[in-house]
């Protein structure tokens, strides 16, 4: 079966961000002074554990970003016709989750539907009972085996996950030890050594290297193994059950939650593509040139920030909706339309949230431009452009970085609220906001349909918590106001 790779607008932006991130990483790795604060981040075990959790989310999000369309069997005068449905590599990986849809709600691990239905049994009598699910636990003949089967499958999966995790950790440790051992006799310092001089200083000869590594990465290894075990158990269970139940139209909630990750990540990151250039350019220009440039830029951001942000976002989104609705011909598939709406939402969020960062950067530039080294550059006749790019921008980078990582979690949370207000992502886009919105209406039912809500909130909590902890570590490492012994 042939397929056609598809790059949606948001995919392109994600790839752009990824490329920019890689380029920054490469640049930072080659400059010792830029690497220093990152080493401080790496030394914090909270930061590394959160980064591990975040990277799990990131992997899911990235796999979900590689989109394609499958070719349909029939052909239109020799031309291949592609299905209107846009799939991603992630969809392909978890195909059973995506395709195993039930009729309607079912609780986590349930064997039967949530609601009673009338069925005709073999004798022709109409019976009202909970019908068995089409996929969830369908392999079980006898419903009473359910708990035993769940435990068995979960245990086996967990064991397999743990085993794979241990193997991976062992493999990495062996590689690491080799590298350190090989580097130890020679004098040029290895990067990891420079990172923790106090650990290596006296104890390197006496402590065995493996023990040393475990001491350094203990928390990280434990988290990794826990995650591996957990993912193993869930994976094994998800093949036979709906681990988090199903929603109103019978879609697997686990699948929906995993798909929501991409939307959350995109809102949290693509928005910075708008915020960053606007805030950086305008903030630095206002602070550096002062005079009328400053007046104009200050006026613009005062106007924007004086409008309550939810209202401004709502107004802009309403207008965008009208434009999109009127140009139905712009989009070949509904996925493209939903995707453009997501990108437009990021754009709007970016347009309304750059003012805070801009104000910070303006203040910092005002301070920097009075520094001796800038005045020296000015008296040497260095052009303004060059002073800004050579001397001012590198010195405000820490502010930008702190602001960006801090904004991420706020944006992920904002998405849910905006979707509730009705000005969020397209209703057909799977996101935490749309999940909560759909599940909220079922709170009144008896017995309650709680699993979709719980799943959305739990996934969001883990993502935002990890992002917050990581952001804190980054701020601690980069903020020059915090006193540091070794800095």
């Amino acid at each position: 079966m042939s397929f056609m790779p598809m790059i949606l607008w948001s995919d392109a932006l994600v790839f752009l961000l990824l490329a920019a991130g890689m380029a920054t990483m490469w640049h930072v790795r080659r400059h010792e002074h830029l690497l220093l604060p990152w080493r401080r981040v790496a030394r914090s075990s909270t930061a590394m554990v959160s980064l591990l959790v975040l990277s799990c989310f990131l992997v899911v999000g990235l796999l979900d970003t590689l989109h394609y369309r499958v070719a349909l069997p029939q052909q239109n005068n020799g031309e291949t016709v592609y299905a209107p449905e846009v799939l991603s590599v992630f969809d392909k990986l978890v195909e059973p989750l995506r395709t195993h849809t039930e009729k309607t709600y079912s609780a986590p691990f349930a064997l039967t539907l949530y609601a009673k239905e009338s069925t005709t049994d073999a004798q022709g009598n109409v019976v009202r009972d909970f019908p068995r699910l089409q996929y969830g636990g369908a392999h079980l003949k006898d419903p009473s085996q359910q708990s035993e089967d769940v435990v068995r499958r979960g245990g086996l999966g967990a064991l397999a996950g743990l085993l794979l995790g241990v193997l991976f950790v062992g493999f990495v440790m062996v590689l690491r030890t080799r590298k350190l051992k090989g580097a130890a006799p020679q004098s040029p310092p290895v990067r990891e050594e420079a990172a923790t001089p106090h650990l290596h200083g006296g104890g390197r000869q006496s402590l065995p290297l493996v023990q040393n590594l475990t001491a350094k990465y203990g928390a990280l290894i434990i988290t990794f193994l826990t995650l591996a075990t957990f993912i193993g158990a869930i994976t094994n269970l998800a093949t036979a059950y709906h681990v988090l139940g199903t929603d109103k139209v019978g879609q697997d909630v686990l699948y929906l939650s995993l798909k929501s990750i991409r939307t959350g990540l995109i809102i949290g990151t693509v928005t910075t593509l708008v915020t960053l250039p606007l805030a950086l350019f305008l903030g630095v220009a206002a602070g550096y040139f002062r005079g009328w440039v400053d007046d104009v830029i200050q006026y613009i951001y005062t106007v924007l920030s004086s409008i309550p942000s939810v209202l401004l976002i709502a107004a802009a989104v309403l207008m965008m909706q009208i434009t999109i609705d009127q140009h139905a011909d712009w989009f070949e598939t509904s996925a493209e339309r939903a995707d453009l709406r997501l990108v437009a939402l990021c754009l709007i969020l970016g347009m309304t949230s750059w003012t805070g960062l801009c104000r910070l950067l303006r203040g910092e530039t005002l301070k920097l431009r009075e520094m001796e080294y800038i005045q020296a550059a000015q008296s040497f006749g260095v052009s303004s452009m060059r002073i800004i790019t050579r001397h001012i921008m590198p010195n405000v980078m820490h502010i930008i970085l702190i602001a960006l990582v801090m904004d991420f979690s706020a944006l992920v949370l904002a998405e849910a609220v905006l979707s509730y207000v009705g000005v969020g992502v397209d209703p057909s886009t799977i996101s935490f906001g749309t999940m909560i919105n759909a599940a909220r209406l079922e709170m009144g039912r008896e017995p309650m349909v709680w699993w979709a809500l719980a799943a959305a909130f739990a996934f969001m909590l883990v993502l935002v918590l990890a992002a917050n902890l990581f952001a804190d570590a980054v701020r601690d490492a980069f903020d020059p106001r915090l006193s540091r012994s070794e800095a």
Partner: protein, 325 residues
């Protein structure tokens, strides 16, 4: 002081004009009134006559900025911009799509909004500052670390969860208060308790942590050392010295939101069925009633600017060294 205030208020005018132009551009230039009419009447199968009628009913059948057909001052005043935007400066918001006066709606809905927002604000401020002072008192101990961890956890939870969870637990499971609704006077008490409680709890994480940072910054200063050297107890140092000196950064963040309390909270009000300005705004957004949304945007920015001016005045109250001129 008076001269300063007058200057600040005059300074606000260009900003409000900017807000006005921005919303005008958003609502009328990006999408013309024709687009809006088609949207309201249904995109397909709509006759030009129906659109003209819709526009005429709502006064959208005029030119945008300059009316060439009219004479004299009417050239300017008989336009959409003049009638829909300029009139906002005298707080004349016109009529919503269902034909009600927006100004009157705002006046009647302010009460319920305030009934929720004001207690939430006052109780919240008290709780957050106390919690932050407590963490500062036990700084660098296990108690402080646990407090900060709790704050980070609480601020990582979606605001929607607090509302949905609170409604479920208190109203549905324990049947302590009704799930939603509103009533004036003393009868309203049982309706506002839960929204206020949830509002306070929802803000604990970020606010307390922020106040803690402010207090910790103050506590490293020289006057604190002097106070301790004089033999004052740590409690006294915190409450009389640190708290007073931390007032300026606290006020910077707090006073600015006081006028905005009138706007109410979008989420809380719509979840609890409170007939305030927040739910008014949400309803307008859902019904795509642009006149109401524009009115609320304008009102919001007026209140925000009022908050900024109030903040400056509050500085002079807590710090006699600050002189406004």
């Amino acid at each position: 002081m008076i001269a300063y205030l007058i200057r600040r208020i005059l300074n606000a005018i260009p900003i409000l004009i900017g807000v006005n132009l921005l919303t005008f551009a958003l609502f009328f230039v990006v999408n013309t009134p024709d687009d809006m009419a088609r949207m309201q009447l249904g995109i397909k199968r709509v006759t030009p006559e129906a659109i003209e009628k819709w526009k005429a009913q709502r006064g959208y059948d005029k030119p945008l900025f300059v009316n060439g057909a009219a004479s004299g001052t009417e050239k300017i005043s008989d336009t959409i911009f003049w009638q829909k935007s300029a009139s906002m400066f005298v707080f004349d918001f016109g009529y919503s799509d269902d034909g009600r006066s927006i100004s009157r709606e705002i006046a009647t809905r302010m009460g319920p909004s305030l009934a929720i927002a004001l207690p939430t604000f006052i109780i919240g401020l008290f709780v957050y500052v106390s919690f932050a002072l407590l963490m500062t008192l036990f700084r660098a101990t296990a108690l402080d670390i646990a407090g900060v961890a709790l704050c980070v956890l609480l601020m990582s939870i979606s605001g929607l969860f607090y509302i949905i969870g609170g409604q479920f637990l208190v109203s549905k499971l324990w049947h302590l208060v009704p799930i939603s609704g509103y009533d004036g006077g003393m009868n309203g008490f049982k309706f506002v308790v839960l929204p206020i409680l949830i509002g306070v709890v929802g803000g604990v994480g970020s606010s307390s942590r922020w106040y803690r940072t402010i207090f910790l910054e103050e506590i490293g200063k020289d006057y604190v050392r002097t106070a301790r050297a004089k033999g004052l107890s740590e409690l006294r140092v915190l409450f009389t010295h640190v708290l007073k000196n931390a007032m300026i950064p606290i006020l910077t963040g707090v006073v600015v939101v006081i006028p905005l309390l009138f706007m109410g909270s979008l989420l809380t009000e719509s979840f609890f069925g409170i007939p305030g300005l927040g739910s008014y705004t949400i309803d307008a957004i859902n019904a795509q009633d642009f006149s109401v949304v524009r009115a609320m945007v304008f009102l919001g920015s007026v209140l925000y600017i009022a908050g900024l001016i109030l903040t400056d005045i509050s500085y002079t109250v807590v710090d006699p060294r600050v002189r406004l001129q």
